[in-house]
């Protein structure tokens, strides 16, 4: 190993769209990554609901490709399959530096991700997750637990998908003071409101279109009732503004009540209605439909996300990008792994 190279063994939990994209990015750009960053990640285990695939020496690019193509159930793999082995068992028994947690979101109790993350912390493993559930319910406690166990906890894929909203606030605005944050943080509701305003269709029609296109789930509650936006504003509040808040602190209204008439009236004033998540230094975090000027940089259309940071010196700064997508979100995981790698390397030097 050349100076500064840090080996990184990864346990990947969850093998859906994001999980598969994580393996694809790591496999495909493996050689470039080493060249650019002295970064040598190896996926030593993948766990899905049926069991695990484990190779302590690292699953090869070819093996990852095969697993991706075959898909569920992964644990039938003749070489490395462990049918029925649970994520908790794998975290406990497989040697690794980092757990990447990309299982489905659950905002009732955060499970199974909550258990995976806390188990990882307790066994001394860093965690990268794209799972908003545990963070929305218990981010202040999770950040403390990570610190207590002396491990890193990163989750840039939870807000903005591949758009680095958390890093932007934390790293690019250093030296300034962020006074407030306001954002369109959910692509599904933005698509629905854009359709309603531009094509003059009702909420129900726009929702059906979104479902047909795969932008909305069969049960659209998480999106249209504003839970997803609320999760993201909680994460921004904790990570960027040092506010100790959770999902229950958010004053939340969804978009079911937005009417064509309201959109028309807003349009007369040069405005439109968007579902806005907002937080400042003191008040309650809010999620609600709000009128914003069409000329505002925040006023993006379709499934785009946008967030505006109000800063003391540099004024308003708006970041716009796709808020979802497998490859995009996987790129956020890679970013987090590189950030952990950078911090580990500078610890080794000191």
């Amino acid at each position: 190993m050349w100076q500064g190279e840090v080996g990184m063994r990864i346990i990947l939990i969850g093998f859906g769209v994001v999980g598969k994209s994580v393996t694809a990015i790591i496999a495909r750009r493996y050689s470039e990554r080493v060249k650019d960053y002295g970064f040598n990640p190896k996926i030593v285990a993948i766990v899905d609901v049926d069991g695990a695939v484990i190779n302590p020496r690292g699953l090869s690019a070819e093996k990852l490709e095969t697993l991706r193509q075959k898909g569920f159930p992964i644990s039938k793999d003749p070489e490395f399959g462990h049918p029925g082995m649970s994520a908790l068992d794998v975290i406990e028994s497989v040697e690794a530096e980092v757990v990447v947690e990309v299982t489905p979101v659950n905002i009732k109790n955060g499970e199974p991700a909550m258990s995976h993350i806390t188990k990882a912390f307790k066994t001394g493993k860093h965690v990268v997750t794209t799972n908003k559930g545990p963070l929305a319910l218990a981010l202040p406690a999770l950040m403390e637990l990570a610190e207590y166990n002396n491990v890193y906890f990163r989750f840039s894929g939870t807000v903005g998908g591949g758009t680095p909203m958390l890093e932007f606030a934390k790293r690019c605005l250093a030296g300034d003071k962020i006074l407030a944050i306001k954002g369109i943080l959910n692509g599904t509701t933005n698509y629905i409101l854009t359709e309603m305003a531009q094509k003059r269709v009702t909420f129900q029609e726009a929702l059906s279109n979104a479902q047909k296109l795969g932008y909305a789930e069969t049960d659209p509650t998480m999106d249209v009732e504003g839970f997803d936006t609320a999760c993201k504003i909680v994460i921004l509040a904790n990570w960027v503004m040092n506010r100790k808040v959770t999902l229950r602190d958010v004053d939340r209204t969804g978009i079911r009540g937005v009417t064509l008439q309201e959109l028309d009236e807003a349009a007369k004033r040069g405005n439109t209605i968007k579902l806005i998540g907002a937080i400042d230094g003191e008040g309650k975090p809010t999620v609600k439909p709000m009128e914003i000027p069409k000329t505002s940089p925040l006023c993006v259309s379709g499934v785009l996300n946008a967030v505006t940071f109000h800063t003391e010196f540099a004024g308003e700064q708006t970041l716009v990008g796709k808020g979802a997508g497998g490859v995009e979100t996987a790129s956020a995981v890679l970013r987090d792994l590189l950030e952990i790698r950078r911090r580990l390397a500078s610890k080794m030097l000191s």
Copy 2:
């Protein structure tokens, strides 16, 4: 000094709008800065065209305030004034870690900033500048010279004013690959084109309005002929995309030729015309009026700036903010000072 605190003595060259704002920010937030970042900056000298003010122990917040209020000539200061002393003399003779260069832009030969910067490098001082001139003419050579002299060279205020476009690309998109950059990088021309499109006035009328409001200079050549945008695209090309290019490599067209008829025709297609600076991995950097969709996040109005990074994995990411302003640009200087401080501190640890 507590662990990690780095003293930083600063020579400030140029005491116009940006220079004054730099002293204001450092003085006003002095105590907070130390608390937040263990960062202890002291301005030990200020140089303007009439001479210098020097206090090797650091000019106090009160003294900085007095100088700001009195303004030109600064060197008459009864305590610390040195009438007629040149910037080069000060850089040579005053002990300091960093030179902050904020004199007026000159794209003919980059002077006097070019001499200030190279003198600083040769005397072992880090440089923070907001001055595009020397960078547009000789950025590849200046980066080499800084490296040769083992000093840091930072210039985030040269692109986007307070909007951290350079940092965003370099720090937030790590792990991804930037394939191309496209931006509205000049507020004056954006104001003129926005006025023409929205109020249906000619280029000349819009320019006059911009001049009345102080958005355009009496000689508007730098802005309307696209030189300012070209300087910024050169800086992005070198810093973000590792392209070794200078101002003479840019294919540049200004906005004098944009007519109301062209704007009307673009509007019929749902588009508008903006002055766009663009660079990709291989071709010539370009600056020219281009038609872009009104729904594009890049399509910002008034004096706003916006830049879109096309990345391999995370898709298109657009950053929008004010592109100029004394306090905003000074906040970029502070950001650069903190970045240098961070790098010096991690060197001390290793």
